[in-house]
Amino acid sequence: MSALEIQHLCKDFSSTQVLKDVSLAIDSGEFLILVGPSGCGKSTLMNAIAGLEPVTSGKILIGGEDVTWRTPAERDIAMVFQSYALYPSMTVRGNIAFGLEMRKVPKVEREQAVERVADLLQISHLLDRKPSQLSGGQRQRVAMGRALAREPQIYLFDEPLSNLDAKLRVEMRTEIKKLHQRLGTTIVYVTHDQIEAMTLADRIAVMRDGQIQQLGTPNEIYNDPVNVFVAGFMGSPSMNFISARLEKDDTTWQLHISDPEQGAELSLPWPVDRVTEAMVACQGQSVLLGLRPEHFAEAGDQRSGHQQAARLEALVSVVEPTGADVLINLGLGGNEVVARVGPDCRVAPGERLALSVDMRRAVLFGQQGGQRLA
């Protein structure tokens, strides 16, 4: 039985459809992340699960029970808000215990719950302070403590880290992951940050325009995106899309990339074992080749170990060393593409760089609609 199940959920605001027939199911203990650009409906979906927004149609089941028309209090969920939403007039202790108090939990048990949560989140020394006396990271912990104290069936996190500075955000991300591993709680987490999504999730639902584009493990979403949108949204720097013509001669498949600067055409071979039926239909047509920056490597780089790697040469326009690796902007077939190469690369802008491309990991999309071909 799923901890949370959403069936054909629709939500209209006057004339605009914010959620269009969204369905998904989450197992107990699973960490699901809803990710997407702003306005994609992820926050609306979260509010619908919380019961803060009535839905237009569809069903929401928590622990097998239909809760579509129950109040937030009756759903046995807890939520961590982006602004933390700590009650300003109450101490940290009061904030954590409030939900239990409302549920008429006896005082002794409330005290125990507060102690337990405070220990877990290392905020015992803050219990008698007011929210205004806490730093951003501390408020974040208290907000999580308030959710944890009630031990609900499902935790909802609404962009909980977006108000923190970059360093603290990474720390709290790890903290949340640890907490989830330790407690095995069921979590639905909304974010627009694809790195948060990749690092935290058991499964990711990528949303756009009120629909789930793809629901899968981070690995699936990253390496096996269903369309151009998902491929482009996940990953930083994002995937390069290169227009190419798909041709077949005898037994081999080739991608021809015309290069207006050189007047010559560049050809990349497509691995025979990855040919799909969808590709056959697009033979001779223009397609989009998707290559992630790390699918490139400096030619001759032992580290990459690319077998079956295609080779090409391109003009370097910008070099960005990040320390761990070097990001290189290249002109390729009239497109600007980003390649991630080893930190020892000593190329300068204006030079030509020989690269190998790992075509086994490349993806192909149709030019129209951006659906995955292979």
Partner: protein
Amino acid sequence: MSERTAVGVIRRRTPGARALRVLLYAVLFAAALAYLLPLVVMVMTSIKPLSEITPGNLLALPEAPTLAPWIKAWGEACTGMRCEGVGGYFWNSIAIVVPAVAISTMVGALNGYALTKWRFKGSELIFALMLFGCFIPFQVVLLPMAQTLGWLGLASSRSGLVLVHVVFGIAFTTLFFRNFYVAIPDELVSAAKLDGAGFLRIFWRILLPVSAPIIVVSVIWQFTQIWNDFLFGVAYSGHDTQPVTVALNNLVNTSTGAKEYNVDMAAAMIAALPTLVVYVLAGKYFVRGLTAGAVKG
């Protein structure tokens, strides 16, 4: 403050600039004096015996200060047919103002809370209509309100006056609280809903504890309005339920015997003091509360 100490301001100290500055202070001083003079005259007149007033020198300092006019104004002066002073009416005013302020503030707070945190279809329209209440001239409702009070059996009673002031005050208090609560994040209410609190519980435990600044604004505003009201007081009160403003009018206009200016002044001071006291005690919160939404950003 000398010009040298003004931080971060560069001024050229030419003779012309100096002359302008002297002129500026002279004008300000004269204006301050003009505004203060009536109060000074009132206070001085109220502690002079009548014999010092009749010669006609308003600005002369009292030679033999006395509290007798205050005592007379409070307990003996004639207001119309009766000669019991304004003391009793002062308590009438208190008995009207306290419940009226408390009720209108409480209702305004609830309205503001409901209009911002439990929005419903048409809630903005209702708020806009309530705003109209701030602009309705009192005279317009005198007769219909008199009729209504009659139907309710509240004519000439203190409760009737309390009702009138509450009804009129709600427009303002709702405006105050609505604008204050609109700046408080909705997520607080969402969090409390998830925690299991209901409408009133959220109001009482989450919103009200942070409302002190706007409560002070509402209380000062309502207190001043209701205490100073004359029109409703004279229209809807009976002999025993008149507020102090009406009694003051009656006292000043009573035309038996010599005009006792010192008693009139003392009575006027008595009638004006409470609003001053309230403002002095809570004034700094008043300013803070009015600007609270503006500076928070």
